[in-house]
Symmetry: C2
Subunit: 461 residues, 2 copies
């Protein structure tokens, strides 16, 4: 392992420059105009895997954006680790809130990253974290230490709900066969408080349209007599939660596995300071379901957020319009055992039931993902625990993360293997926001930790 | 009068072509980039008045967009009619809903306008209607029939609440001195049901900002624990009206002069067919304050409409963002004797009082106008009544219009004269919407009617 660590130290600057190349490709999967950039980013990953030491690497076509697959089989009788990551990124807008160009990465220091952080879309989510695996793999190969087989599956549709990956897994079960899936697309609690994600919320994402009159109207001539779809949409949104911020959709909580008293105690043992949390977000108060702590609200409780709303005149100045239409994008985070499509259906039924006769409603299901729970009493998990304990000097804490990686549940269904979510980001890395960044400490700590995972995992299997 | 009517008939095509020139200038007063076009449109009006026969016409600077003034004084001892109109127009967006270019007028037939209608921004509101006065004036001068003095004041800020016109009137009281202000910026009930507007609602227009965290957040990591300003804004908007669509802002109705039972009977005597109304708007139901008819809701009752809302991700596809900010433009239509600034203040106090601690609120007052009631037992009104009866063959009905012309109330305060609102549009002319149009019938009927107004008015004074 010493050689590997020396190799990593000797090649630090090169690793960073290589990652920058990848980050410069604006592979925004939700943008229909990004097709060329998606291929560019996929091919870049394929070439990077080959250079790092893969026996083979290929860009596989799908009905959506391509999947990059690469492997190095050291011995078919040995266990296999499948590394999953994604090369697609979130849209960069609102662009005017970025302090540097989203697709021209730069290193800047911050309070939480005194050694510097890489600022750029995808720096943490997930190019930066996927790339740690490429480089750890390169170091293991270069130093003749790869104790198990390794496979890489790097997709291009994670940020839009991985619509093509299920079929890709179905179609390539043999090729993808593995004993564990290793994923770095999550966070640690803090750089001195390592943690491993053992739960992820699911997602059910819908778009709603509320239509009033057949055209925009003059708000003087018609105001007060004809439905205003923005007012109505607002009223309907207000009926999604009650005064305790409990979601009011009938049947919404039906499949929720309530956490036991013991589990709730555990969740609240993770280091958390409400004052620091509020200060960091510059808010006077948190806001969530009555009867639960902040960690519970994001870890074991579902939520309902309007991700976007628009309608009427939104330019400078004033326009006295009574608009014809109003829209909202609404997503619900789910916990075990809620199911995305069932939730979307319950949402649609309820939303339509509360619509007054003066408007017409359309609800489109955009995408979803199942919630995930991973066991912590397995060699797969313990290998990650030992690896982090070695490099951080502290045993990592198992945590529930509020975000979703919808494909994790599908992996288990299709490939039959559990995932280990050993991520190295921080929640404050602004991964879906302007100024996304990834600490240099985190980037290098990840590359340092991953080879230990292979070491411990091979020793335990 | 025969000569005048022949003159009008002989010059119909030229009048239309001249109006088209004016309509091609995109004088959108709310657009800060329109400055040059505002001057262009003002100068065009000045030249048009001179060509029509004004003794003098001038473009007056203001702190905002310029005011065009022109006059022809036939005898200082005779009464004076001041014609008011505006050369500014509403923004044209959403552009994609226009069937032809908003600033390239064309004539197309419609069901309500079998003779054709002029499609283009400002065709009805108000260039087309102001221009009728230019041409009626030209015809009267050309045929040696101008029985009273005439003055024109054509402003460029009506659509943004006429912020500079009050001062202009104050500064030029002597120049503007008049016995009646004649305004064509309203509608008739139908082309075979003439009407004159005797009431206008006022307006109080605000913009609100709701701020949650100091940056956009990942809706997975934070959703359910940190305030979503869109959800909160929606909830706050839903609290502006109760289940009877009665506005809940404390004190909002304090100054409302309730209509008497007799007045309500009169209002509901105007021809109105609810089924036709719903069909024309393609709605299954109307929507307004309980206990009032549609004509009452827009004529004698205040209203509260969200004119625009925006926040979060509004592009194609999905983004799981928990936004930092959400915005809405909200306007309230007022009736006698509500006061715009007082209402805005009540709104702000209430809106802030219902905001939870987890968000911060900003309320900006954008503009407003007082409601108007004009008496119908005056020579000024009866002249309009007789003029319309002559050209339409039916006595016009006095009606309350839901829209606002904020400056009308100011005229009375500053210049001491009442206005007569003799407009020729239709409510279906889409004046603040895509595909604004103005019937050729209406345009020519207006030009035909206006000289009769001068005739009857001079006979009665």
């Amino acid at each position: 392992m010493k050689n590997i660590q020396k190799y990593l130290e000797d090649n630090k600057d090169r690793f960073l420059n290589e990652l920058f190349e990848w980050l410069r490709i604006p592979s925004v999967s939700s943008n229909p105009d990004s097709k060329d950039d998606m291929y560019k980013a996929a091919n870049w990953a394929k070439d990077a895997l080959l250079k790092a030491g893969a026996d083979r690497a290929t860009v596989y076509e799908t009905e959506g954006h391509p999947v990059v697959y690469g492997e190095k089989i050291v011995d078919p009788n040995k266990p296999t680790v499948l590394v999953y990551g994604h090369y697609d990124v979130q849209p960069a807008d609102p662009l005017d809130l970025w302090d540097s160009e989203p697709f021209e990465p730069v290193v800047r220091k911050t309070d939480l990253h005194p050694d510097g952080a890489i600022f750029g879309r995808g720096s943490c989510d997930d190019k930066g974290q996927a790339f740690m695996h490429f480089k750890a793999f390169e170091a293991m190969v270069a130093n003749g230490f790869l104790p198990v087989n390794i496979k890489f599956m790097i997709e291009g549709e994670e940020e839009i709900g991985s619509p093509s990956l299920g079929k890709f897994c179905e179609d390539n079960k043999a090729m993808l066969a593995n004993d564990v899936i290793l994923v770095s697309d999550t966070s640690v609690i803090a750089n001195d408080v390592p943690s491993i994600t053992t739960g992820l919320r699911g997602l059910s994402y819908v778009e709603v349209e509320v239509v009033g009159a057949n055209r925009d109207l003059h708000s003087g001539t018609y105001g007060g007599a004809v439905a205003n779809p923005i007012n109505i949409l607002s009223e309907m949104i207000s009926k999604l939660m009650d005064e305790n911020r409990h979601i009011t959709i009938p049947g919404f909580y039906e499949d929720v596995v309530e956490a036991t008293a013991e589990e709730r105690v555990l969740i609240n043992e993770a280091p958390f300071n409400l004052d620091d949390y509020k200060k960091e977000l510059d808010i006077d108060d948190v806001c969530g379901e009555k009867g639960y702590t902040t960690d519970e609200r994001t870890g074991i409780r579902p939520s309902c957020d309007v991700n976007g709303i628009w309608g009427g005149f939104t330019g400078k100045g004033t326009k006295t319009v009574l608009p014809s239409k109003a829209y909202a994008k609404i997503s619900m985070r789910l916990v075990a055992n809620q199911k995305p499509k069932k939730i979307a259906k319950l949402f649609e039924e309820y939303f339509k039931s509360i619509a007054p006769d003066c408007v017409r409603i359309k609800v489109d299901y955009l995408h979803g993902g199942l919630p995930v729970m991973t066991p912590i009493d397995t060699p797969e998990y313990r290998a990650a625990e030992n690896a982090m304990e070695t490099t951080y000097g502290k045993k990592p804490i198992p945590t529930m993360e509020g975000g979703s990686i919808p494909i994790i549940a599908l992996f288990e269904q299709i490939l039959g293997s559990k995932s280990v979510l050993m991520g190295f980001g921080l929640n404050s890395d602004a991964i879906h926001s302007p100024n996304e960044h990834y600490g240099l400490f985190n980037f290098y700590k990840g590359i340092e930790t991953i080879p230990y995972y292979f070491k411990y995992y091979s020793e335990m299997k």
